[in-house]
Each structure stands twice: as C-alpha cells, then as structure tokens.
Amino acid sequence: MGIKVLIITILLSLGAIAQNPLFRSSATFSNGFMKDEIRPIYIGGFLEYFPIKNIGIRGDGYFSITDGSDAKKFTSNHQVFAGINKYFDLGGNFQPYIGFQPGLAYFVPEDSVLRGNELVSAESSFNPLMSLNAGAVLWVSDYFNFFGEVKYVKGSALGNSQVRYLDEIRISLGLGFHLSRK
C-alpha cells in the first residue's frame, strides 16, 4: 500500500511543470569501471549554475578512496572537471541531460619502478582528461532532486613509469539540492 502511494506520487510529480533551477549541487559516492577489473570508488561532488534555462555550467570534484582491485594499481586518482550540460525539457519534472567536461587527474601509482637495480618510487602526475556526461534529474521539490548519471572519462597518466590508462565509466546516483529562480 505504502509503496503504491509512493509510486503514484512520483508519477504525479512527473506531470508537474519542469524545474527552472538556478543552482544544483550534490555530494555522493561514485563507482567506476576501468580496464583490468579496476573498480574505483570516489567521493564526488559538483556545483552547477544555470545562467539560462536548460544550460548548466558545472564543476565536479572526485576524491578517490580506493581503486577497488585486488592488485592495487594506484593510491590516488583524484579528478576535477569543468564544463557544460545541456538539459532537455520533456514537459515534466524528469529532465535528461548530456554534457561535456574537460578535466584534470592527480594520479599516484601504487607501485615502485626499477631504475636499473635501484627501486624508485613512481611519481605522481597531473594528467588531462576528457569526459562526457549523460544523466537525468527528477525534480521532486523546491529544493531537492534525485539524479543518476553515467560519466565516460578518457585519459592516460604519464609519470616516470609506463603509461596508465584512466579510461573509465563512472556511475553516480543520489539526492541533490537545488535552488530555483524566483
């Protein structure tokens, strides 16, 4: 009974007028899928400003807390992004969007590297990234929304050892906060 009421209410919400937010933000956990069965987990957050309706200028930050693999590949893969999302009006409170965000990764490999017979630590590096976003927001009130997003990240890390590929599919889900235009 309770679940049915909840579902009906959400469906009713979908028929309401689309949101016209000014700011949107969230902080959540994000899961990544990389090659070699690396499954990193991040604490991620973003702040998005809507200068005009359906265009969001957004900055993201991701703090990696584990690379999620048995053989540790890296200790840090923190990333920041800045770019733009384009939202689409479907006539309800549900809005899909796509976006493009260049970014930068601070990457610290886990392993050391051999220099002849000497073991030296692999150095950290800053590395360019490209990312594409596809997601959707369900605006459920004046201040809160639910969102889901898939982010494709492309890049590679070059320090003092072999290249590490940072290509990744990242999924974020959560509760977001927003302020609307009045």
Partner: protein
C-alpha cells in the same frame, strides 16, 4: 511503514505542487528557447570556455597527445573573433618517454558565412608561446635518464565550426596545423625491444609540427561594448 511512505508521498506532492506555483518562467533575456540573432552582435561579446586538445605529431613514435585547457573569446567585429587560450598536453613516446607541451596563445577567427542558426564555420590563424619538455621514463634494465626543455613560439592555422545550442552557448570543433619556430627539440629512440631508450638529439625529429584537434564548450557571459541584440 505505511505512515512513513504516506508522509514521504505527501511531502513529495507538496514540494512538486509548491514548485509549480512558485517558479515563474525566466525573463526573456535568459530564456534559451527565445531565438536571438547571435552573429550580428559578435562585436564586443565576451565568452569563456573549456576545451580538450588532441595533438597528432608527425613523429611516428608518438601517440596522440591528450590535452586540457581553456580559453576566452572577445568578438572584434561581426565577422571577426579572437580567441585567447591555454593548453596542457601530454604525449606518450613509445612507452619510453613523454612529452609535455604548454601552449599559451591567441588566434583570430574569420567567419566567411553568417548563418542565423546552427553551424557556423570559420577560418582560424594565430600565434602561441610554447614550453616543451621531453623526458625518458624509468627503465628497469639500465639506469638512464634524459630530459630536455625548450621555450619557443609557434604559428597555427586551420578551420573550425561553432554549433550554437542557444544564443549563449556553443560547442566548437577545430583542426589546426601548428608549426613551431625556433630551436628544434629532437630525440631518437635507440635500441630495440625491452632495451629501447629515449635519447635527446638534435638530429632526428626536428621538424616540430603537429595537427591539433580541439573540442570546446563556450558560454557567452557578457558584452564588453555595444548592445547584446
């Protein structure tokens, strides 16, 4: 459980309907659905953008360089725009070395056509200052290090296109050929197999030219002079 679900439902409904009543449409000037001519008033417009750059070198040993950067644009005339950019590009050299390029420069864009909507092609040419660093990666088979740094200038030119999604926001694609000027920074890859190493040399790969592909997202944030419309 039912009570909690009911309360959540009521809250969601209230929030939804409350918003419906309290969120007027934005003024026309901020409404992306209102079409405004963008090109006749390019003069004086100021745009900010972020971009990715992909660098294709003439060196067979180098992979495609991946870069990130940003730019701002100042519209000079209706058919002429200027772009001021910064790029940070890293390139893998056959898994034995890396190349890092920092570009800071400017370009002039000329619009031969002035379509009112959609795609807008342009011709672009300009100049940049360039800092390049080449260094060898660590090698497990022998102790060796090599690195070199060079400051230089470069000229670039090519074509591009804007795709306006609103009057304020565009995605741009461009392809430019860049010719570095000044002292060449060369290298060779010596040896074979696991024994390969990067050797700094002036005798190889001294033709410092590359093809740069850019994709950028840009937002017009204001008007420096003249009116917006």
């Amino acid at each position: 459980m039912r009570i909690i679900a009911f309360m959540i439902s009521v809250s969601l409904s209230l929030g939804s309907f409350a918003f419906s009543n309290s969120s007027p449409e934005p003024p026309d000037s901020t409404d992306a659905t209102i079409s405004i001519y963008y090109y006749p008033k390019r003069a004086g417009s100021f745009e900010l953008g972020v971009r990715n750059t992909y660098s294709f070198f003439s060196h067979a040993e180098e992979s495609v360089g991946e870069g990130v950067g940003g730019q701002f644009r100042i519209g000079l005339f209706d058919r002429v725009n200027s772009e001021w950019f910064f790029d940070y590009i890293k390139t893998n050299i056959s898994d034995v070395g890396k190349r890092v390029d920092y570009h800071i420069g400017w370009s002039i864009m000329y619009y031969p056509f002035l379509p009112k909507k959609g795609w807008q092609p342009y011709i672009v040419a300009g100049h940049c200052f360039d800092l390049t660093k080449i260094s060898a990666l660590e090698n497990p088979y022998f102790e060796y290090s090599a690195d070199a740094t060079r400051w230089s200038g470069a000229i670039q030119g090519g074509i591009g296109v804007h795709r306006y999604l609103t009057d304020y926001f565009d995605i741009s694609l461009s392809a430019q050929y860049m010719q570095h000027l000044g002292t060449p920074l060369g290298y060779e890859i010596l040896g074979s197999g696991l024994g390969r190493m990067l050797y700094i040399s002036d005798h190889e790969h001294t033709n410092e030219n590359h093809l740069l592909l850019n994709i950028s997202a840009n937002y017009k944030i204001g008007q420096l002079w003249g009116s917006k419309y």
